[in-house]
Amino acid sequence: MNTKFRLLAATLVLASAIPASAGTVSNGFTVSVNLSSRCIATNASAPTLDFGTYTAFQGSAAAPATPVTMTFDCTRGLAPVSVAFDTTNGTAAGVGVLVGLQYSLSASSATTVAGTAASTSTIGSADAVSYSVTGSMPANQAGTCGAATCAGSHTRTLIVTY
């Protein structure tokens, strides 16, 4: 009798420790976002495309010793469709005039380094799109200069359309 009582008591204690219910229930919801794709310029400062020294009426065209690289970060998969130059200091095609000397700029085709995709542990990175810009200054130009030497510079803008 004593043994049966102990067994019953132990069973009751055990039963009281078991949760009243056991199971899962789910409730789904939607996560959404609209991504506006874009490109942003990433050159820290405006690089200089230097034509160097041009001697009036020189017999050969002048070209910059070093082209400049213009870089943009773009939404992954977003490919720019065209590039042009500003029309403030020249034409969209890249023609301009400095100290009476005509020059023309040209941009290479885009070079794209694919970014990395986002994951649960990283935000990923952008596609890096770059253009090499160089130019040419035709020969036999007089220029405009009231002294023996004149230096000129201005700012152009490379515009990427995507």
């Binding site: 009036a56 977003l78 130019g135």
Partner: protein
């Protein structure tokens, strides 16, 4: 309605611009070394007599510029840095009153005045 839908269907899914600036610079040398390739002889009448002149003007440089000139029976042959003959030894009736040699990067030229 259908036309509008057609236009939308052919519009790009996204359109935008991004701009990046660059500087363009140049230094113009407006003065160039004078080119003396053609020399002319002549005479001028001065109060003290008639003078023969050799004048070199900035004209297109001949491919093989002459190195010698005969002026009033006086031959001056100028080589680079060297005189061949002198004015006085074959001057005859004339007397060299003034002359100078101007040396440029790729040629020399003579400017002189002879009075007699």
């Amino acid at each position: 309605m259908a036309f509008a839908a057609l236009i939308l269907a052919f519009s790009p899914a996204y359109a935008g611009e991004s701009a990046s600036r660059l500087g363009v610079s140049v230094t113009l040398h407006a003065e160039t070394p004078p080119e003396f390739g053609a020399c002319k002889t002549g005479e001028v009448i001065l109060p003290q007599g008639v003078a023969a002149t050799v004048t070199c003007t900035p004209e297109p440089v001949p491919k093989q510029p002459a190195r010698s000139r005969v002026v009033s029976s006086v031959l001056f042959h100028i080589s680079r840095g060297t005189w061949l003959g002198t004015a006085d030894e074959s001057m005859g009736l004339g007397t060299v009153t003034s002359w100078r040699v101007i040396r440029l990067a790729n040629r020399d030229y003579l400017e002189m005045m002879v009075g007699w």
